[in-house]
């Protein structure tokens, strides 16, 4: 999404690990057990009665071939083969995490939280690499983690390029061309010291964010996603940069969309 960010990846020369999607995968046969360790499943799955209200209200279900009720059903059935197929599919990546389903469920389930747990497990197990939408995690992890660790923000305006965001409009193009002047005019403290919007986050705070990433598993997950992508790029004879662009833009819409 942000092509003009500095290149951010693991230090060079490290051997990348194999993507485990076969019988050697340590997660195989233990998917439900792993899911239950996630607090979002503990919170989000009580007892689904299959009423389908979540699907009726879901913005993703109208747009994509997506049915949150069916996903909750698969998790509830604890069928390992079905779970594995689900984690390898595009389906779990269609949700927009708006959480409209949470409000509506008459049994206080949270399909949106269950989706989040499934996505994490798909990434940890490597199964996410088997779907077009799953492979998009490379772009998200690379850019968002980079922004957090180097700028202290999830979004940073110098990394939000017009060319990748044409919907930013003619005014957006003008903003990108006059970024410093416009932020100054509107009272931002862009990259400045002290308090204020878009201030430069002190190095001490960035160091603490890095430590939090290391201690809580974010660094491990990030490195795995970067490794998986690098390995896939090599398989496709692409540079990491070209693979990034491919993942960012490729859209087999006939497969995904709820049309026809």
């Amino acid at each position: 999404m942000f092509f003009n960010i500095p290149n951010f990846k693991k230090k060079g020369g490290e051997k990348v690990s194999e993507v485990k999607t076969d019988e050697s995968n340590e997660f195989k046969g233990h998917l439900y057990e792993k899911l239950q360790e996630d607090y979002r499943v503990k919170e989000g799955l009580k007892a689904c009665m299959n009423c389908g209200v979540c699907t009726a209200v879901c913005p993703a279900a109208e747009f994509y071939r997506y049915n949150p009720k069916n996903i909750v059903n698969i998790v509830q059935r604890k069928n390992e083969d079905e779970l594995e197929a689900l984690l390898k599919s595009d389906t779990i990546w269609y949700c927009g995490e708006c959480m409209s389903c949470v409000t509506r469920c008459p049994r206080a389930n949270a399909p949106g939280l269950i989706i989040m747990a499934l996505r994490k497990l798909a990434m940890e197990s490597g199964y996410y690499m088997e779907s077009e939408k799953g492979r998009q995690q490379y772009v998200l992890v690379k850019d968002l983690c980079n922004n957090i660790l180097t700028k202290g923000y999830c979004v940073y305006p110098r990394h939000f390029g017009y060319e990748e965001h044409k919907e930013f409009g003619t005014v957006g193009k003008w903003i990108c061309e006059n970024l410093d002047d416009i932020h100054k005019r509107l009272g931002s403290n862009l990259d400045g010291d002290g308090p204020g919007g878009l201030r430069k986050i002190p190095q001490e705070s960035l160091d603490q964010l890095k430590n939090i990433f290391d201690v809580t598993g974010a660094t491990k997950l990030m490195n795995k996603v970067l490794d998986d992508a690098h390995q896939q790029a090599q398989k496709e004879n692409l540079s990491d940069e070209d693979y990034f662009k491919k993942v960012y833009t490729i859209n087999n819409s006939n497969k995904h969309l709820n049309i026809g």
Binding site: L144, P157, V171, W174, D193, P195, L198, S205, I212, G217
Partner: protein
């Protein structure tokens, strides 16, 4: 609409919020795309209302966009939040107010999950100590910044220079209120009016003279969807959801949209441009589209701030028709100028949606 019935329901979702002394944390999206809104919020609360709102320069993102893009684990997001709480405690505050709706949802989810699973709170406490050598205290009160403006909406009305009223007809402006999904869809009791009848923006609109539009897709998501916008290949999801909302509100001919989430006004503004340029359709008879504003911008307009100090020139949908309706004085020549009248050029005029 049976107003009495709704008022009864709203009464179940009221919350007492403290009068003063808040620890303020910023929003990654609001400060990037609507920077003047945070400036305006702090100016209103500190200088118009005389309240204490403190900002600690060491605070960071809450990680919410990465969390909801499934790019960091839940434990990571919770530990970043725990660090934010530690900074609040070190600064001597107990009331926490955030500018971002995604953040508000993350903070609420974190506190509720810790309440239900105390062992997870203990684990996060240890993570925070191991990573930052910090200890946190949970906020005594958690608010979204729109809650604060809601609380003081009548004081703002007393100081108002303009009303949400068409000065030519004398009729109230028709206002669509759009609530960010994570304000109350996950934890309805944490938002004014719950998830079904959120009152946080309705209260502002009515206090400032406007009339709220009740339309079928009022509660539908703006379409951000995190990965559904951040990845270019997925943006059809985002624009389709915005399109659904505009098709639904169009027959009511709204004069403006007010939002409390930082992302929603960006999508409701920019996707109107895309829809117009792709299909030729605009959602107002005058061909300008419907302005989608932050609640800080609307409060600022009512209070008589210069529209260009509020940042209304960085919206794609032109604001001038709304200014004319409200009778707001403005200098059209100053719209695209920088500090000291610096010439920054002007944006190109789109083909279908009028701008200049």
């Amino acid at each position: 609409m049976i107003v009495e019935g709704k008022q009864k329901i709203w009464a179940d979702y009221q919350k007492d919020i403290p009068d003063d002394h808040y620890y303020y944390v910023r929003s990654c999206i609001r400060q990037s795309f609507f920077p003047a809104s945070e400036v305006t919020f702090l100016d209103i609360t500190r200088n118009k209302l005389g309240k204490d709102f403190y900002e600690n320069p060491y605070h960071t993102t809450c990680g919410g966009i990465a969390y909801h893009s499934d790019s960091i684990p839940q434990e990571t997001a919770m530990t970043i939040i725990a660090r934010q709480f530690a900074l609040m405690h070190e600064s001597g505050y107990e009331n926490y107010v955030c500018s971002c709706i995604t953040s508000f949802g993350c903070y609420t989810e974190t506190l509720e999950t810790w309440h239900e699973f105390p062992e997870l709170e203990d684990r996060i406490r240890q993570y925070l100590w191991d990573s930052c050598k910090k200890e946190f205290a949970k906020p005594k009160y958690l608010a979204h910044s729109s809650d604060i403006i809601y609380k003081f909406r009548h004081e703002i009305a007393k100081q108002a220079k303009y009303k949400l009223v068409n000065v030519k007809t004398g009729k109230p402006l028709k206002v669509v209120e759009h609530i960010g999904c994570h304000y109350s869809k996950m934890f309805p009791s944490k938002g004014f009016g719950g998830a079904e009848y959120p009152h946080v923006l309705v209260g502002m609109v009515e206090a400032w003279g406007g009339e709220v539009v009740d339309y079928p897709e009022r509660r539908h998501c703006c379409g951000f969807g995190f990965r559904q916008y951040l990845i270019q290949a997925n943006r059809g999801y985002s624009v389709s959801n915005t399109h659904k909302k505009f098709e639904s509100m169009e027959p009511y001919e709204p004069d403006l949209i007010i939002t409390n989430c930082p992302g929603c006004p960006y999508f409701l503004d920019r996707w109107q441009y895309v829809i117009a340029e792709q299909t030729g359709k605009t959602y107002s008879k005058n061909g300008y589209g419907i302005p989608a504003l932050t609640y800080e911008e609307v409060a600022g307009l009512v209070l008589g701030y210069n529209p260009w100090d509020l940042g209304l020139q960085i919206h794609q949908v032109a604001i001038e028709p709304l200014l004319e309706k409200m009778g707001v004085e403005y200098d059209p020549k100053a719209k695209y100028k920088g500090i000291n009248n610096k010439d920054l050029g002007t944006p190109e005029n789109p083909i279908n949606i009028k701008l200049i």
